[in-house]
């Protein structure tokens, strides 16, 4: 089970400025371990943010995103008390969802 994401959001009027840190190795498949064996690819592929259950921001990404990915994005039409949840899925089918309440 992957570690929780760290999600922070700041409301500026009705725009939520979101910053998220995901714990993930983002292995490119190009590195070798101490024994010279290739470390297999292991990376987040899909990301989705939902505001009160409605998708508002989505991404499809590659192994070229840095280890322990950090993203920031801005959601329109947000207000204090709204529920923001973020989900990622990696190339092995592992997934993780974390949520916060805005303005809390």
């Amino acid at each position: 089970m992957a570690n929780p994401m760290k999600i922070r959001a700041k409301l500026e009027g009705d725009v939520a400025e979101v910053r998220v840190l995901m714990a993930h190795p983002m292995e490119t498949g190009q590195r070798k371990d101490a024994n010279g064996q290739v470390i297999p690819m292991h990376f987040i592929k899909d990301i989705r943010a939902e505001l009160n259950g409605k998708p508002v921001f989505e991404a499809a990404i590659s192994q070229a995103v840095s280890r322990n990915p950090v993203f920031a994005f801005k959601i329109k039409g947000a207000k204090a008390g709204d529920k923001l949840s973020i989900t990622w899925v990696d190339n092995r089918g592992d997934t993780r969802t974390d949520s916060i309440e805005l303005g809390s």
Binding site: Q30, K32, A49, F57, A60, S62, F73, K76
Partner: protein, 156 residues
């Protein structure tokens, strides 16, 4: 009583049910994700192949795409990139690093309720142009920013 065997059998039964579900189209988890993971684009080794796979035929240079990235990145493993599109109707923001082994880094869909902005951190194997392609009203626009890398971030 061999419990492990029972659990294994039960598990196998469940997965074959799932496989049947996928096959008949009853369960289609990919539908849930609108920003489709474009395998051909991600596996392309050149910018032009990646753009072709993304369906980008014609791309117009635009000064309305603002890319903030360091001129010189000391550590290619973590290069921060800030992108703002001032093009009206921006739906998607795609990012490519021209000289990476697989240039296409990803696409961010902001059409459903986000502002045309994204911040991400990428790996860069060597000094390269960072290329941003914005899709708005069916048209494609691009801007590039050169980033010099002193220590590459792909091998190791």
């Amino acid at each position: 009583m061999d419990r492990t065997r029972r659990v294994a059998l039960k598990g196998a039964g469940m997965s074959s049910l799932l496989v049947a579900g996928f096959a008949t189209g009853l369960l289609r988890p990919r539908d849930a994700w609108a920003a489709d993971w474009n395998k051909n684009a991600f596996e392309s080794k050149t910018v032009s192949d990646a753009l072709n796979s993304l369906g980008v035929q014609k791309v117009v240079p635009s000064a309305d795409i603002v890319i903030k990235a360091p001129d010189i990145a000391e550590n290619g493993a973590v290069v921060p990139i800030d992108i703002t599109s001032n093009i009206p109707g921006t739906e998607r923001i795609s990012v490519l690093v021209d000289k990476n082994p697989f240039p296409y880094v990803g696409t961010f869909d902001v059409s459903k309720g986000a502002l045309p902005y994204v911040h991400l951190r990428v790996k860069m194997g060597e000094s390269s142009n960072v290329r941003v392609v914005v899709t708005a009203n069916g048209q494609h626009y691009e801007a590039v920013k050169e980033v010099k890398v002193t220590i590459g971030g792909c091998g190791g």
